[in-house]
Symmetry: C2
Subunit: 158 residues, 2 copies
């Protein structure tokens, strides 16, 4: 249960775009790569993924670059992470079937709900955070997040 490199760097680049957005500017791949200390090729790949998902907008040609497709306050982290983590993780019971054709826990299973709920918990937490909330100072961001964790909305209770 850890964050992958792609998720991490993708999110960072997105944050850089959010910062630039405030000043009405867009960023090129080489700018992004310099800002985050990754190769331009890698930045390109990340941006391609994000743009395919409609999170960022790209402009070609000289004076081109990337910018957020929507205001930073409307981009929630759960969306970002889901896009960056690749495949939609097919139904769990098919991905982790061991050497067998199907999951050995047929029908009644205590594992499945744990995994599903766990992802739900993470998703809920991430859904409460927008890009714009991450632009302040570290202390402010930290404070804001603590609050969110406390005010949890409890969606799917009856």
């Amino acid at each position: 249960m850890k964050i992958s490199a792609q998720e991490e760097y993708g999110l960072r680049c997105l944050l850089q775009l959010a910062r630039a957005e405030g000043m009405g500017e867009s960023l090129t791949l080489s700018q992004l790569s310099r800002l985050e200390g990754i190769s331009t090729a890698n930045a390109g790949k990340l941006m391609w993924i994000l743009s395919k998902a409609g999170l960022v907008q790209s402009t070609r040609g000289t004076k081109g670059g990337y910018s957020l497709a929507r205001p930073a306050s409307e981009i929630r982290l759960n969306r970002v992470i889901r896009v960056l983590e690749g495949e939609p993780a097919e139904s769990h019971c098919k991905s982790y079937a061991g050497v067998l054709d199907a999951c050995v826990h047929t029908g009644d299973c205590g594992i499945r709900p744990v995994i599903v709920e766990l992802h739900q918990i993470v998703d809920n937490a991430l859904a409460d955070i927008t890009l714009s909330q991450l632009l302040g100072t570290e202390a402010n961001v930290d404070a804001a997040l603590h609050q969110i964790q406390g005010i949890r909305p409890k969606d799917n209770r009856v």
Copy 2:
């Protein structure tokens, strides 16, 4: 942000041990491998990790096998997952430094708190679940988990 194969299979094996525990029995590697549809070699590796961390007890020789080191009701999932996910994930800013020596976000950083809090949220959720809670029917387990997600204890508020 997804669960790894090792975490998944390790947890499943542990659950099988918890079931066997109820009947005062221990399980051998070949039994575990058959129950979970993985190779005995793989089961052996997982058990070694879990035993090294003190979560399971092993008995060698004929009539040997594995059993839980403590009652299922005292084993919390956060511990299990942390053990199975390998390295303690050194300070984040060192793991994801791109091509540079250190993290480019020096000092004031909006990313770090997100990652740290996120792991905290997951850990809190997992800490509320014990192995014994996962032994019931799928419907029961699901119901129990929903409750936990709602009653969240809010540890680190002031």
